[in-house]
């Protein structure tokens, strides 16, 4: 009996060791991003380094909640979010680990990364305004503040306030103009809606193309995706609008980031650091610029044709570090003004 037990134990140990050897070089990524390009990027990383990337996809809030409850036993190495505010909060909660290398520092703008080195951005996502080419003259709208003006009554579109993109935008306005002014702005915007918020950013652009409204708030890459779609109707919808990078003369356009950080209890810190650096390589930056149409983190537009066509824009760096701080205020305002 005892011999059998010992043998069983031996076999188990062997199996365990074999598994360890086979899956030793493994990186666990908790990610909010789920585009085809992300899969491609991970495959490329595996090809170059021999490290297998295992991804768990979910909303960032769920991922953070999970990290919190898993504590030291978490298998996660890297956390990827699409909202700096949430990453700031995760860092403040002690869920991330500091990492600083020359590459990470050189390849990211100082204003758009964690000052302590908890996380680094790898794509930029500008929240822009698009207008119907044939119904809105150039120069009629130049800033987010313009959207609340009464002349746009019944002509404006936006998605719902539950979207983190809108929450971050309003948080930036709270940071720039104060809570009272931001509340007034949101009230004006709601009054201008051509319909109750529904659908995603792409749906807003399509609705402008259909003539339903004239102005919409969207992330720039959604327009890129439409303009380069396989579907002719989608391309036509993209062609019918003009992109405006708002507040060019002021604080700049509100820009959020896709960002990655190393999880506090990661057991593969070297591999995770390598992964973060890889995300910032020209090769990956070019992939994003041409496939998801997000802006490269250093704004080297030469990487993507579509981005070159849109041209330079000024990133709102002023309010960036406060997005997390003012996001609860933003949610409060949305509720108050009835932005669905």
């Amino acid at each position: 009996m005892r011999i059998i037990r010992n043998k069983c134990f031996g076999v188990l140990c062997l199996v365990g060791a074999l598994q360890w050897a086979a899956f030793g070089a493994e990186l666990h990524v908790y990610s909010h991003r789920h585009y085809g390009t992300d899969v491609k990027v991970n495959a490329l990383f595996s090809e170059k380094t021999g490290i297998t990337v295992k991804v768990v996809n979910a909303e960032v809030d769920q991922l953070v909640e999970r990290l919190r409850s898993e504590g030291e036993s978490s298998p996660a190495d890297v956390l990827i979010a699409v909202d700096a505010g949430r990453m700031q909060r995760a860092a403040a909660e002690g869920l991330l680990r500091k990492v600083e290398t020359e590459t990470l520092k050189q390849r990211t703008p100082e204003a758009l990364r964690s000052p302590e080195g908890y996380w680094y951005p790898f794509t930029l996502r500008a929240r822009v305004i698009v207008v119907a080419k044939d119904r809105v003259k150039p120069g009629e709208i130049t800033s987010y503040e313009d959207l609340a003006k009464p002349e746009w009554r019944g002509r404006l579109l936006s998605r719902s306030s539950t979207s983190s993109y809108n929450q971050a935008l309003l948080a930036s306005i709270v940071a720039a103009n104060g809570e009272q002014a931001a509340s007034k702005w949101a009230e004006g915007v709601v009054k201008n809606f051509a319909r109750p918020p529904q659908g995603g950013d792409r749906d807003q652009i399509k609705a402008i193309a259909s003539g339903l409204a004239d102005v919409a708030i969207t992330n720039s890459y959604y327009l890129g995706l439409l303009l380069n779609s396989k579907d002719a109707d989608e391309r036509a919808a993209g062609e019918s609008v003009r992109i405006i990078f708002p507040n060019a003369d002021g604080r700049g356009s509100h820009t959020n980031v896709s960002c990655a950080g190393i999880v506090k209890h990661s057991k593969n810190i070297a591999e995770a650091t390598q992964y973060l650096e890889f995300l910032l390589s020209d090769e990956v930056q070019k992939l994003y610029a041409n496939e998801t149409f997000e802006h490269p983190v250093l704004l080297n537009l030469a990487l993507g044709e579509q981005l070159e066509e849109w041209g330079e824009f000024k990133v709102d760096e002023e309010t960036f570090s406060q997005l997390g701080e003012f996001s609860p205020a933003a949610i409060r305002i949305f509720d108050k003004v009835g932005w669905k």
């Binding site: 809030d61 036993s73 051509a194 529904q198 259909s210």
Partner: protein, 536 residues
């Protein structure tokens, strides 16, 4: 020795039954407990800005959907029961089809409709100005959402009325016809009043399903209580979510109590059971009207969405993410299969074992378990969710992993919600089995459980199967609980369809949508033949 072991097994089963009853009560207990905890400013903000809207929208939604389901379900049941016309037999069967079309799948087929209506909205603006334009755009999503829910849920009313018209009130209807009452008179003065309990029963089922719906209302941007509960839950406002869930519970109880009350107030004779209603043959013009009456809701509730889904399936052929779909389908099947085993096993303990032992404890547990079906999905979801979080907090590390990567919470929630679905057919079946058979088996030396296993259960095989099918279909198309409680990074067909539709990737939602619908249909088919057989 034998007596001792029998006593022992009796205690085990009593314990099991008590455990099941406890499991059903736990979510409600958790919700009540957490809701009574003090809340910070969040609840005050919800009361100030959202609560009134939630309540109003819930009431309006339920009223509209139930109204549509009644307006469709009662006349179709009447026409099919009381008249004979070409295509009647086929329509009788077809009218069950919308049961296989979960609301959120139909919604995927209709959700782009609003975008397609842009020219109409623009025309309204040109004709009647901005205010009308804005108002129409608020109304249209309501029309879509209530229409979809009404057209997919009306078979509940149809089924319950159909049985009454065809059998129970046949004698009275025949008498009214013989006494020269007009066709309309027979319907309004005899059939309709006699079918009232059935109408209310079907209507309250529709009302319940509507209150529990999350998929359709959130896809069309409506904001009744169920999405409100989930929003608060998602934002981490646990106390707010719990309190909103209790509001939902209140409205649901009102519906259920009203249904009970109207049933109990007056005795409705079962009729003398003198047989089926003779169907009046219709002329060609009236036949056409009857066919149209049945075909229009079928069109909107089934064939149109199926047609659109099929077209999208064709469009994405080749490029569909089949791997992901297959994984989701496997997850759905495994979940539903596991849940059916759990539910049936529990139902056998609560019903068949109860009969074998004649235990009062188990009987009480059975009655408690039936209550689970009356709990709102949102309440079960957040109650079980809070329980899992609590357990995870007390068993950190490996315990958390075991809880958050397993389907523990989900299975518990299915158990709570659907145990009644498994119990009821089995209980009905067992009642028909004469007790003397089991007693004879026992006299011949069989044990209590042996008699149950070898006499009772084989005799109720069909109803057991019916219960299993119902549970399977219910779990398979379940969205609300699954969305909240599914393990991390785990998709079922239902959640996948919802996600794709929500992201506007409707064409991609079509493939899993069709798969889900076809599988529900396969489950529904034996059920309807079974029902026909039972009817005969």
């Amino acid at each position: 020795m034998e007596i001792k072991s029998r006593l022992c097994s009796g205690i085990i089963f009593k314990g099991l039954a008590a455990g099941l009853a406890l499991a059903v009560l736990i979510p409600l207990g958790v919700v009540v407990l957490r809701a009574s905890q003090p809340s910070d400013t969040a609840w005050a903000a919800v009361v100030e800005y959202r609560l009134w809207g939630y309540v109003l929208q819930t009431l309006l939604l339920v009223a509209l959907v139930t109204g549509i389901a009644l307006a469709v379900g009662v006349p179709t049941a009447w026409v099919i029961s009381a008249y004979d016309f070409r295509g009647r037999a086929l329509l009788d069967w077809l009218l069950l089809l919308p049961l296989a079309m979960p609301g959120f799948v139909a919604a995927a087929a209709y959700v782009d409709l609003i975008g397609g209506l842009a020219p109409f909205f623009i025309w309204v603006r040109q004709q009647w100005g901005l205010e009308a334009f804005l108002r129409v755009q608020i109304i249209v999503p309501w029309v879509c959402a209530t229409g979809i829910l009404g057209m997919t849920l009306f078979p509940y009313v149809y089924l319950s009325c159909r049985a009454v018209f065809a059998r129970q009130s046949a004698g009275a209807i025949e008498a009214a016809r013989l006494l020269g009452e007009s066709a309309a008179g027979v319907f309004f003065r005899v059939a309709l009043p006699m079918a009232r309990p059935a109408i209310v029963a079907g209507g309250s089922l529709v009302g319940m399903e509507t209150m529990n719906d999350y998929g359709v209302v959130s896809l069309f941007g409506l904001q009744p209580l169920t999405p409100g509960v989930f929003r608060a839950w998602g934002e981490g406002e646990v106390v707010v979510a719990m309190r909103l869930a209790l509001f939902l519970m209140f409205f649901l109880s009102v519906v259920l109590v009203a249904e009970r009350w109207q049933r109990g107030r007056r005795g409705y004779g079962q009729g003398s059971g003198e047989g089926k209603l003779a169907r009046v043959r219709l002329g060609s013009g009236k036949s056409l009207a009857a066919v149209m009456l049945c075909a229009v809701p079928l069109m909107f509730g089934f064939f149109l969405p199926v047609g659109r889904l099929l077209r999208w399936c064709w469009d994405v052929r080749g490029s569909a993410e089949l791997g992901g779909h297959a994984q989701a389908a496997w997850n759905s099947l495994a979940l539903a299969g596991g849940a059916v085993c759990l539910l049936l096993g529990s139902a056998v303990v609560l019903v068949a074992v109860q009969r074998a032992y004649g235990s009062r404890v188990i009987l009480i547990a059975q009655k408690i378990c039936l209550l689970g079906y009356g709990l709102p999905s949102a309440l079960v979801a957040v109650g079980v969710g809070a329980l899992v979080v609590f357990l995870a907090g007390n068993f950190p590390g490996a315990g958390v992993l075991a809880l958050s990567t397993s389907v523990f919470g989900l299975m518990l929630a299915y158990l709570v919600r659907f145990l009644a679905v498994a119990i009821q057919p089995l209980a009905a079946g067992c009642e028909r089995v004469p007790g003397c058979l089991r007693e004879a088996a026992q006299t011949l030396g069989s044990g209590r459980l042996g008699a149950m296993w070898r006499v009772d259960l084989p005799l109720v095989k069909t109803t057991l199967l019916a219960g299993a099918t119902l549970c399977f279909v219910d779990v398979f198309k379940e969205l609300t609980l699954t969305l909240v409680l599914r393990p991390f990074d785990f998709e079922t067909l239902a959640t996948r369809i919802y996600r794709f539709t929500d992201e506007g990737r409707i064409a991609e939602a079509a493939v899993p949508g069709m798969a889900l619908m076809v599988l529900c249909l396969i489950g529904l088919f034996p059920l309807s033949t079974l029902m026909k057989r039972l009817e005969q």
